[in-house]
Subunit: 399 residues, 2 copies
């Protein structure tokens, strides 16, 4: 099978590396050799062991020998147009591009189905952790009630530093940037946008209908303080940024937000750049997938596995249920009841029923966990005694 790689940055060059180093082994698994015929990149790579670089996309599109293409360009321009034309031309596409899948997945999967080929994107969520295929092929015997995922290694690293080493958000971010875990412009990570795209993809697959990431309420890491982290630890919780989706009647709701996670949960121990995805099923109970959620080789490895799958299914479309969703299918979940951690100003008198937690060094404030309430009920609660007259210094959902 002859393939092309589009985009020779971190992930694309990782794919090239694995395809070269594991050539024989992969041929055995795939049932045939996988050969890189073209690499598309505007840059030059004089030191690469490959010598098949091109700058014109049309060479790939018009070469009938090319059966599958690795899309590791990122973004939607020109990746969307390129991918669509390749699929229409009957070429399989394997991608790590979460933005593209989250935005145009419905259409691109539709084209792949019509052309009896495959558009595969295991690498778009959780790096090398198998989660997309398990959702499509392995967890189909169950009704999935919800998914909670720690889906972004950068913010998880920052939070781990804040909690374990008492760093501020700014200091932890700088360190993450120095170590190469965070981009120069960290907005997509710290504002939760990356997590949002990933949970949108997982929700679309888990229930077979498109969930548009643009309509998922998304809150990032920036408002979490070292004090919140201290209270969390003292009260037996971890603080994480999670993407969550929940089946709710005929609809679904999804959200990205900071969360207090009980130390009993398998998600609580997932630190540093690791990701964990907890799938909750009717029959299965909790199933968790854990591993490195990012990085050159783990992500590239997931793409190569998709390529092997393509080689094994040359003339078969792998059925993926991901239809258009009707108006109102995704709702805001404001009526769902959750416990909340609240950091409250003033003295703790009157808060006995909430077992108020005071910490040494944090004078004239305390924290409580309130029992499950809807968002409207929480608002009412905060207006009434004993909360009225106290300032709420921090508020984080308990999951």
């Amino acid at each position: 099978m002859k393939i092309a790689i589009m985009g020779f940055g971190t992930v694309g060059s990782g794919v090239g590396e694995i395809l070269m180093n594991s050539f024989d082994n992969l041929a055995k698994k795939a049932g045939e050799k996988i050969e890189v015929k073209y690499i598309l990149d505007l840059r030059d790579f004089p030191d690469s062991p490959y010598d098949c670089f091109i700058k014109d996309y049309n060479i790939i599109l018009n070469d009938p020998e090319i059966e599958a293409v690795i899309e590791a360009m990122g973004g939607t321009v020109p990746a969307y147009e390129f991918t669509k034309k390749l699929l229409l031309a009957g070429k399989h596409v394997v991608t790590s591009n979460k933005e593209l899948v989250a935005r145009h997945g419905t259409e691109l999967l539709q084209i792949a189905a019509e052309k009896n080929i495959n558009y595969l994107f295991e690498a778009s969520v959780g790096g090398g952790i198998p989660i997309i295929k398990p959702l499509i092929n392995s967890l189909t015997g169950d009704d999935i009630t919800g998914i909670v995922g720690i889906l972004n290694g950068t913010t998880n690293y920052i939070l781990t530093q804040m909690i374990k080493n008492g760093k501020t958000f700014r200091a932890a971010l700088s360190e993450a940037q120095e170590k190469g875990y965070a981009e120069k412009d960290p907005t997509a990570d710290v504002e939760g946008i990356d997590t949002c795209r990933k949970i949108a993809i997982l929700a679309s697959l888990a229930y077979g209908k498109y969930v548009d990431s643009n309509f998922i309420p998304t809150e990032g890491i920036t408002k979490i303080t070292p004090e919140d982290a201290k209270y969390a630890q003292a009260m037996g919780y971890s603080v994480k940024i999670v993407g969550q989706c929940v089946k709710d009647g005929n609809g679904v709701y999804a959200r990205v937000c900071p969360a207090f996670i009980s130390s009993e949960s398998p998600l609580a121990g997932i630190d540093d750049v690791f990701n964990g995805i907890l799938v909750q099923g009717d029959s299965l109970g909790d199933v968790m997938f854990y591993g490195k959620g990012a990085g050159k080789l783990p992500t590239a490895s997931a793409m190569v596995a998709d390529l092997v799958d393509v080689a094994k299914h040359r003339n078969t479309h792998i059925r993926i249920l991901w239809a258009e969703s009707e108006e109102g299918y995704l709702h805001d979940g404001s009526k769902q009841k959750y416990s909340y951690y609240l950091r409250v100003s003033g003295a703790a008198e009157g808060f006995e029923e909430y077992a108020a937690k005071k910490l040494p060094g944090l004078e004239n404030e305390f924290a409580v966990i309130v029992p499950p309430v809807s968002e409207a009920e929480l608002e009412e609660l905060l207006k009434s005694s004993p909360f009225d007259g106290h300032e709420i210094l921090g508020k984080i959902r308990v999951i």
Copy 2:
């Protein structure tokens, strides 16, 4: 698609329950309805909502309408003969029968390949945890260097009780039996036989060559004492029974044994009846799969997912690499170096370099962790100073 269920015990009836309760949902996922036409069992089930019980296996074998069969009989007689004839007749078979897969997997998969059908066994390892398909379809972009799994919920429950509540093995086993976690005859669980079959299946899939469970050195739980558990906790380890396989040159070695697991490992926190399977890859690093490793509905859910897969791949054989292995492929791994926990009699004088650990209440003994050695080197070490003259009261490998 019309199917039959063979064996209507815990798992088989669980499959019946899910197929009935999720009928419409499954039809959507599979692309067609999945109808139970026969249930084979020698017993009567007058209270079952199903009324298609039969006692003659040949009805299933000779009915051309039956396309797939759930084998939930367990054991190898008559499951082996029945499965083989069904596959030869061109019917897909889905099983949870680890004994049968571990013993006859090579032959049965070979027949399935020749007949262009599928023999699927996700439920044979890890109950509802997806691990078989991820090994076949998702982790193929990587060279798997090793697998370590907590694969038996019964022994993990017993160990958790010994460690967290200081119970003896006998007391914990009785409790497990009362709660229905352990069989009346617990031999297969406590002697490690169940774990051994499961790691043999995983090893056969990970490297594409048959690993015969009969030749895997297997040690169960019975020799672990509450004292070992206490030392483990004091030294920052968990004690678990693990199945392990390691790629070693052109061969592989596998083993089932008690293990000290560092509290840093994601496996350390897997308690009670949960299972965890850690796959170590060249590019991926560590990936872990976690969930309930047994039980009626989790296991049944995995079988139903395999059925959905069969429905989606009616005329396609899902390629599974599992060939005969050559003489000497599986070796005993005695040259592999491991650290060991040793519980030693006598006074700790002379053991300064090993940072000997003494525990209150355990007089005239202590524990050490020795640096990585092969089995022969360990034997030598124990014969020489400072170990000579001391009795070894306990010895557990550190993984």
